[in-house]
């Protein structure tokens, strides 16, 4: 009889072991902290939509809660996780995710109620770390100080989804290879085509050395930049409108935040900033200034890279354009 009891007990434990006792491992986060985290986290909480919720959702990780913000006129005024909503239609009504407050004011009671076994926070919330740590193992990810792909790889690793990350990366690289082939066939050396990422708001003009998936795609494809932007490296900078001609290029790419801006408003902003800009500058003069929706673009994900790649390839390599003569 004792044997029988042992057999049944052993069988039950073998079959359900993962549910009872999570295997853990040591993980070193971007603050250099060593954190003991589950090998396969089952209840992940993200406190940043476009940086964590979007990639975790794309990976199919076990995310149970996310921060989100509410904005009138968007998602019926209900909160939504930035980026993940725009890209994957994820909100707190259709996904099963629990809302844990806004990204900048996380609701700690809601996070506790979500019973997380892993929490992701951005490096700029380091000061809140003690409050997160007492709830569950907390991993800090550096957002702006490392390449997006490296950031994504670390998130996937901590979430126990490295295999899924590699599969998505292979898919992205397949599309990238096809786009590079098209560009080589149509344009020859992509470095001969210059592209500037620019924007204007609040009466200022900005140039961008690094703006999310857009800059990653432009870099991967090998386009060049006007010198003043190339010198920025990965920085973004306010730039004098009086020097706007230094930013002229074969193509300009602008961005609009769809919940407060429109494409036409961006044009209006440029009209106000530099009257006659669209005659003065080559790219807008030749309808080679295109403006893209920044919300799906900025969500850390392969899907945003793929969508941005399709837009950039179609605008630059799948139609004729008037080259800028230096």
């Amino acid at each position: 009889m004792k044997h029988l009891v042992n057999f049944i007990t052993l069988t039950a434990l073998t079959l359900t072991s993962f549910a009872f006792a999570q295997e853990t491992r040591q993980y070193t986060d971007d603050l250099g902290r060593t954190v003991e985290i589950p090998v396969i986290p089952q209840r992940i909480v993200s406190v940043r939509g476009e940086q964590f919720t979007a990639p975790l959702w794309e990976l199919g990780a076990n995310i149970v809660a996310s921060s989100g913000r509410a904005r009138e006129g968007v998602n019926d005024g209900e909160p939504f996780p930035r980026g993940a909503y725009d890209l994957f239609n994820v909100d707190f009504r259709n996904s099963g995710l629990i809302w844990v407050g806004s990204p900048n004011e996380p609701d700690f009671e809601a996070i506790i109620a979500a019973e997380p076994d892993l929490i992701f926070i951005p490096d700029w919330q380091e000061d809140l770390l003690p409050q997160f740590e007492v709830i569950a193992p907390t991993v800090v990810i550096a957002i702006h100080s490392q390449p997006a792909m490296e950031r994504y790889r670390k998130i996937a690793d901590a979430a126990g989804m490295s295999n899924e990350f590699e599969a998505l990366k292979a898919r992205w690289e397949a599309r990238l290879a096809l786009a590079r082939r098209t560009i080589e066939q149509e344009l020859g050396d992509p470095a001969n085509v210059s592209v500037a990422v620019v924007n204007t708001f609040d009466g200022q003009f900005y140039i961008y050395g690094n703006w999310g998936a857009l800059s990653q795609v432009l870099t991967e494809l090998g386009f060049s930049e006007p010198q003043v932007i190339a010198e920025l490296g990965d920085e973004n900078q306010e730039f004098s409108p009086e020097r706007i001609q230094e930013v002229d290029a074969d193509f300009w790419v602008g961005l609009f935040y769809p919940y407060t801006q429109t494409v036409s408003a961006i044009h209006d902003n440029f009209d106000a900033l530099v009257p006659g800009w669209n005659e003065l500058l080559h790219a807008p003069r030749n309808n080679q200034f295109f403006i893209i929706n920044q919300e799906p673009m900025r969500a850390l994900s392969f899907r945003s890279l793929e969508e941005t790649l399709a837009i950039v390839t179609s605008q630059i390599a799948q139609r004729d354009f008037v080259p800028l003569e230096e």
Binding site: L4, I8, T11, V263, N287, N293, S314, R319, F321
Partner: protein
Amino acid sequence: MWVIGISFFPFPISYDSFSTKLSQTFKPLVTSMEKIMKKLFILLVLTILGFSFAQDMRTVTDDLGNVVEIPVSPQRIIAVRSDCMATPLVELGAPMVGAGSMQSDNFNGGRPFIRGATQFYGTQFGEGLANIGFINEPDIEVIASLEPDLILIASWVAESYDNLSKIAPTYAADCFGKPLTEWLGEIADLAGMSNVYEAKMAAYELKLEHARAVLQDSIGDPSEVTVVFADPFPDGIYVAEDYGTFTVVADALGFNRKTMTEDMLGDEGMLSPELVEAIDSDFIFSSYQVFFDQPASQRLEQWQTLVPGFDELLHAPRNNKLVIIDRSLIRAFAIDGLETMISVLVSQVAERDFVPLEE
């Protein structure tokens, strides 16, 4: 009822063998204990394996009128046709064990590929996904060796239907003859993955909603923008009545999509080059095919050969609004393809200025 083999138990599993092992191990136990063990065994197996052990079946009628009993949740699907069958199954994450292939020296390093899925998802044959032969000539022996529980074939190449249906339930579909989103919903249903389809379609609808807002701001009424899909061929111009993601998205966004009436088309359904001005539009979309070694510039040459001076004659190419897209996007049997087509069309039409065609 179809029964799937169980491979993850360390011993051959059947109730008899399991019972014998138990009897030998626990000889002193009384008969009542054996009864308890029987119940425990059944309970354990049913609990652990659930529906996957014994598949629930349902009856469907395919596009050739065959009444087929298929699993509710197939676990080993073979898609003989790669573009319209394997590709959506890859997108859905369906359990596909084999797919038909194509091969070209100009693509995928000369290795066999899954048309659509390889371009769009980077899918390769290998562990877990077998090449079952050319899309229109499936290898029956290979298919049988894969032990499928559902085989999907194109209804227009159904010569092998009888042989295939002896291996597993076989469904013949006219996947090119149906509206794209309808077929994507149908194959998701066949794969038992309608929930995934519904979720992805909801994301597509949200993206359409956002795109319409951009169009309203930039151009006002989208029906004032004329678009056409046209491809040049040696014997004339193919003007699409209905072509993949392009027409689905262009129509959903409300563009004025130009098509030709039958009396304008020749015997082969092509528009004569002499009538090319009939397609003049704000935007002309055309396509190139990677695995035919047919880059966009070659297609442009084809246009020039067919209609000398074409890029000055027509408004769209004259104003850099002839957009020549990878055909794998236009023919993408995937909701992801619809979403990407939204990005491309909205970017071209509403997110940059353009010189409008004055009628």
